[in-house]
């Protein structure tokens, strides 16, 4: 009896070990989307509900380049990624300049409602142009089947999983560098702290805000392209990414880049935990995400927690 229990636990740990790379890769994608979300929120004070939809359309732009127009060239997926980044940044620019900026001074909920409008529009454009339900092959930046072990262990990472993890860490580092070490980053932090004060110091608040939307949306685009090998790639499946990135951003209290990334990786791995107990599938992963959102809101956003800015 005890022996079999022990055997079951060992089996579970083996499953967990096999699922760890998957969890970390998923978490890295959430981190990318969440970093963009936090950047936009910090600078412009808008919680961007359209983040998942921007990722969707960008991923389909990449699909168009990689798997349709440049299908038989060796570099198709990379052109696709580049096109997706441009498309994502462009969408962020349009959303901010034409629909958020005219609402300056309005309550945040109105601006959020605008991003909900964009969510509907962008998602439906993706569905109308690229078909709602058909099969879309993922964008293969690297060979899916090449794997190699983590040195000293028997945990095997796929090359595409490693690509996602490294990209996320690199972009997180890049964002931190941007915010802390560059003039633009200092301007962004100034606008985040006090837009009117920043304007008085001669900072071009409009330009800084637009740039934060462009960069944040481009990050969503990268997340959208990189996640395609791990999911069923349809216009609606990517929108679910938005709630995962919300969860990660909430764990970073919508402020901290470091805790956003840690939270995203934690969430990615935690989502795999039910599978190690034999409860695989999307529903149990969603249950984990839901619990994390609930816990984050309950613990981190309690009234009187001064670390959290009023939303």
């Amino acid at each position: 009896m005890h022996a079999s229990l022990a055997a079951a636990l060992v089996a579970d740990l083996t499953t967990f070990k096999n699922l760890l790379p998957t969890g970390l890769a998923d978490g890295s994608v959430y981190a990318l989307a969440a970093l963009g979300l936090v950047l936009i929120y910090r600078v412009s004070g808008v919680l961007n509900f359209a983040q998942g939809a921007v990722a969707t359309v960008s991923a389909f732009v990449a699909y168009q380049f990689a798997n349709v127009w440049f299908q038989n060239t060796g570099y198709g997926p990379w052109i696709g990624l580049l096109a997706a980044i441009v498309a994502g940044g462009f969408m962020g620019f349009v959303i901010e300049v034409f629909t958020i900026r005219p609402l300056t001074g309005r309550p945040p909920i109105v601006k959020v409602a605008v991003t909900i409008g964009w969510l509907l529009v962008l998602q439906q454009i993706a569905g109308l142009v690229w078909d709602f339900t058909g099969y879309h092959p993922p964008i293969k930046l690297v060979d899916r089947n090449s794997t190699f072990p983590l040195p000293g262990t028997d945990v095997h990472f796929g090359l595409n999983q490693l690509l996602v993890i490294l990209t996320a860490l690199a972009l997180a580092g890049g964002t931190a560098y941007l915010l802390q070490r560059t003039t633009l980053g200092a301007s962004m932090r100034a606008v985040s702290d006090d837009p009117r004060g920043a304007r008085l110091w001669g900072i071009d608040v409009d330009r800084v805000t637009a740039l934060s939307w462009i960069i944040g949306s481009a990050m969503a685009a990268v997340a959208g392209v990189l996640i395609t090998p791990f999911i069923i790639f349809t216009p609606f499946s990517l929108t679910l990414v938005v709630v995962n990135s919300f969860a990660a951003a909430l764990l970073g209290r919508l402020q901290s880049l470091v805790f956003t990334v840690i939270g995203a990786l934690f969430l990615g791995v935690a989502e795999q935990v039910p599978a190690t107990f034999g409860y695989g599938g999307a529903s149990w992963r969603q249950a984990v995400t839901f619990s994390v959102v609930l816990l984050a809101l309950w613990v981190l956003f309690r009234p009187g927690n001064r670390a959290v800015r009023a939303v």
Binding site: W118, L120, Q124, S283, T289, V311
Partner: protein
């Protein structure tokens, strides 16, 4: 004629037209009309929450699913009386609303919106997943045939059920109207505008918010029970008519029409059901274009006039009445237009 008198005449007339008109429709159109009333009730539940307590909910269709699935499971799967099942479904949804309301007590505005998004997606993926309800329905298609209930031994059809739904909606609208204009409405508005000030006045802020959540969710559950019969089937999975997408569209529609008015809830309900049908009739377009058009309208409207179409129209009518009354005194009218 003051706006109040106009309202007293227009509401019964409009109600009568809405009640009688579908009797000339064919069967399918009558079914759509029934669904429109259910959607209007759902929109009303959102108006109660958004317009009066200042809270947004992206999970109204999830509460509706509680009502609809209770009816589907009990009526089709177990042969239980519809009236009992609908009552139970409404109660379930109310309890669900209070449960969602508990974490929401500590949150306001956007964070609450995020919470309701998480709730809706949890419902979608967990409760509405294909296969979850097989044990209750005996198949993967959930409940394909929800029968019409009978009343006083008389079996309802599409039109009589539509009339019944309309009566339910009228009672609910009256309830919300009275809530808004009575003591409760003042309390809820006080809570909406400043929780701190309300609690210093000795108001039980938490209790009122929970009550608002519970009543709103119960209305949504009732709407789901009605929709289950009007549609004639209840299904989860990809065929589900209760997923997050629909809740988002509902929030968008009610924002376009104006989130604080009972009239806009009525208009929103009919718009949600009939707009996709109308788009299907236009060559080159289809119901798939509906969210795109809705989103575009929402964006344009928020950027240009953030109050909502119905509220703006009501204000325009009031303004017109005012101008007409002023015409008898030209001097005042001139002064008025000069001031404007």
């Amino acid at each position: 004629m003051t706006p109040a008198t106009l309202r007293r005449i227009l509401i019964p007339v409009g109600f009568a037209i809405v009640a009688i008109l579908p009797s000339f429709y064919d069967f399918a159109l009558q079914g759509l009309a029934g669904r429109a009333v259910a959607a209007a009730l759902l929109a009303l539940s959102l108006v109660l929450l958004t317009g009066m307590v200042g809270q947004v909910s992206f999970c109204q269709y999830s509460f509706a699913a509680l009502g609809a699935f209770t009816v589907g499971s009990l009526v089709v799967g177990h042969g239980v009386n519809f009236w009992f099942a609908a009552l139970l479904g409404t109660a379930f949804a109310g309890v669900g609303g209070v449960l969602v309301g508990i974490p929401a007590l500590r949150l306001r505005g956007l964070l609450l919106a995020v919470l309701t998004v998480a709730v809706a997606l949890f419902f979608d993926v967990f409760l509405l997943a294909p296969g979850t309800w097989d044990g209750f329905s005996g198949g993967t298609l959930a409940w394909p045939l929800v029968p019409f209930p009978s009343i006083f031994g008389h079996l309802m059809d599409n039109y009589t059920f539509y009339l019944f739904s309309l009566a339910v909606f009228a009672i609910a609208a009256l309830l919300v109207w009275n809530l808004r204009n009575g003591k409760t409405g003042r309390v809820l508005r006080a809570v909406r505008d400043s929780e701190v000030a309300s609690s210093t006045l000795g108001l039980n802020v938490a209790g009122w918010k929970l009550a608002a959540f519970g009543v709103s969710a119960a209305l949504a559950g009732l709407a789901g029970a009605l929709q289950a019969v009007a549609t004639g089937s209840v299904a989860g999975g990809s065929q589900s008519a209760y997923s997050f997408q629909y809740s988002v569209a509902l929030v968008a529609t009610i924002t376009v029409f104006g989130a604080s008015s009972i009239f806009s809830a009525t208009a929103a309900g009919f718009f949600i059901v009939f707009a996709p049908q109308l788009l299907d009739m236009i060559p080159g377009l289809s119901h798939n274009w509906w969210p795109l058009i809705l989103g575009a309208i929402l964006i344009v409207q928020l950027v240009t006039s953030p109050d909502g179409v119905v509220v703006k129209t009501q204000r325009d009518i009031a303004h017109l009445m005012h101008r007409l009354a002023q015409r008898r005194r030209p001097a005042v009218a001139a002064a008025h237009s000069e001031a404007a």
